[in-house]
């Protein structure tokens, strides 16, 4: 059960935050994840951040999958060490929604 979606924290104000998913921004509560700060990726469930997404673990899982992928059919991992919070994948600008 329990839908939860990875969301990026754009700003925080006390227990409230604005999060972004694929160019969509929504109010969320971080009362259950007080350590969350701007730039973190969190799992969002029913309007609440419920867990921090661990970038290192995510990359390790992807690397494991990449080893398993047949030649030419690489998984979504592109390039080595990402610097800016996400997995180093190019984000399509929200302008694509215009």
């Amino acid at each position: 059960m329990c839908l939860a979606v990875p969301a990026k924290i754009i700003e925080t104000d006390g227990q409230q935050a604005i999060v972004e998913i694929g160019g969509l921004r929504k109010q969320a509560s971080i009362v259950l994840l007080p350590e969350a700060v701007t730039g973190d990726y969190v799992l969002l469930h029913a309007g609440f951040a419920i867990s921090m997404i661990d970038k290192k673990e995510a990359l390790e899982t992807l690397l494991l999958f990449e080893e398993l992928a047949p030649p030419g059919g690489r998984p979504g991992l592109s390039g080595p060490g990402p610097e800016d919070g996400d997995l180093g994948l190019k984000e399509t600008p929200a302008a694509d929604d215009e």
């Binding site: 329990c2 509560s29 994840l33 190019k90």
Partner: protein, 367 residues
């Protein structure tokens, strides 16, 4: 759906490349009967939607356990909430999941047609906002869900008390996953070799609560929700069975800490206390539900509103119970796809989009 990786931490895990290889690994394993139960509706849906069951080796049986909170909610709880929704001056707030669920006499949709004010909310804080915006009404929120959702309901109750929102109430029908898994293991005739454990419940409770199961020789792997996550988790389970070394492993390491989310657990435990709870199909399981603690009694709909739902009974001829325990599959039910369809659901496993019957009907069933 296009291949651009624009939903970070989702799209990367949806690349189909490794899926074939992971599936090959499953097929190359020695044949022997293995029954793996998933106890998460989102896993149930993914397995049906992505055709994982058909693609898996025939000796590997994937069975669906009580992983959908809507499906395990008893008719008594549904009827009680519906009775409350029909009281004068009440706004009944619920997640959209519950609207189509039939009760003994009617569902929430039927109550709305009879004049009940039913509001669908996405978050418990939206329900609390309804209470603030409608000071002359009593807002009752239908608290359903497992450990993932219960802390968000607890947070709303705590916020209501703090802000003096005395017209905000919760009917708590929450359920806890580990006690149900233990009860399942004790059920006679139920042979489960391993559990595919729910990723987002585990984000809150961590890995430790599954340890007693592993100690009894039942592998537990906490899995993510993409096809590759599930295939990888199945391989991890079979590795454990091969080696005979049964543990709790976390495949969904990007979202789950071994210790879970302490702040969320604290919030949940400060507002709720464990109680015995009736699960549809499983009966009453000790300490498997959550009741609102005495300090928050003023927000407890079950204490504040006296309603009579003694007429409650489970739908006749429905084998949801046996389906929820993995002993039967939907096509075993005489009603399935005949008198029980998503248009006219009889049992909750058909009405909830995460229900086993709905998943079968939606994606797998053939006449």
């Amino acid at each position: 759906m296009n291949n651009l990786p624009v939903l970070s931490y989702l799209d990367e895990f949806r690349a189909s490349g490794p899926a074939g290889r992971l599936l090959d690994r499953l097929h190359r394993r020695p044949e022997r009967p293995v029954r793996i139960m998933e106890v998460c509706g989102t896993h149930t849906m993914a397995i049906s939607r992505h055709g994982i069951r058909q693609a898996s080796p025939a000796w590997l049986r994937l069975i669906s356990g009580p992983g959908c909170p809507v499906c395990v909610t008893s008719n008594y709880d549904i009827d009680s909430f519906i009775e409350m929704s029909l009281l004068p001056g009440v706004i009944a707030a619920s997640f959209g999941d519950m609207l189509k669920v039939p009760g003994t006499r009617m569902g929430l949709g039927g109550a709305r047609a009879r004049g009940a004010r039913v509001e669908i909310v996405y978050s418990t804080l939206d329900a609390l906002r309804l209470a603030r915006e409608n000071p002359d009404c009593k807002v009752i929120f239908f608290g359903v869900g497992f450990e993932t959702t219960a802390p968000t309901v607890a947070a709303a109750i705590a916020a209501a008390r703090q802000s003096g929102a005395s017209n905000f109430f919760v009917y708590s029908a929450h359920k806890l996953v580990p006690p149900a898994l233990s009860a399942l293991c004790r059920m006679p005739g139920l042979a489960v070799d391993a559990f595919l454990c729910p990723g987002h419940v585990s984000a809150i409770i961590g890995a430790d609560p599954y340890r007693p199961l592993a100690e009894r020789g039942i592998p537990c792997v906490i899995s993510g929700f993409e096809t590759v996550d599930i295939l990888q988790s199945l391989n991890m389970i079979l590795d454990q069975l091969d080696s005979g070394d049964c543990r709790v492993e976390v495949e969904y390491a990007r979202g789950v800490r071994p210790g879970g989310n302490p702040a969320a657990l604290e919030m949940m435990n400060s507002v709720f206390a464990p109680c015995d709870a009736g699960w549809r199909g499983l009966g009453t399981i000790p300490a498997s539900g959550l009741t609102i603690r005495e300090e928050f009694a003023a927000h407890d709909a079950a204490r504040v509103f006296a309603v009579d739902a003694s007429y409650s009974r489970e739908p006749a001829g429905c084998i949801c119970g046996a389906i929820l325990t993995g002993q039967k599959i939907p096509p075993d039910c005489r009603r399935f796809a005949r008198t029980c369809t998503p248009d006219h659901p009889v049992g909750p496993c058909m009405v909830s989009s995460e229900g086993t019957c709905a998943a079968y009907y939606q994606y797998e069933f053939q006449d």
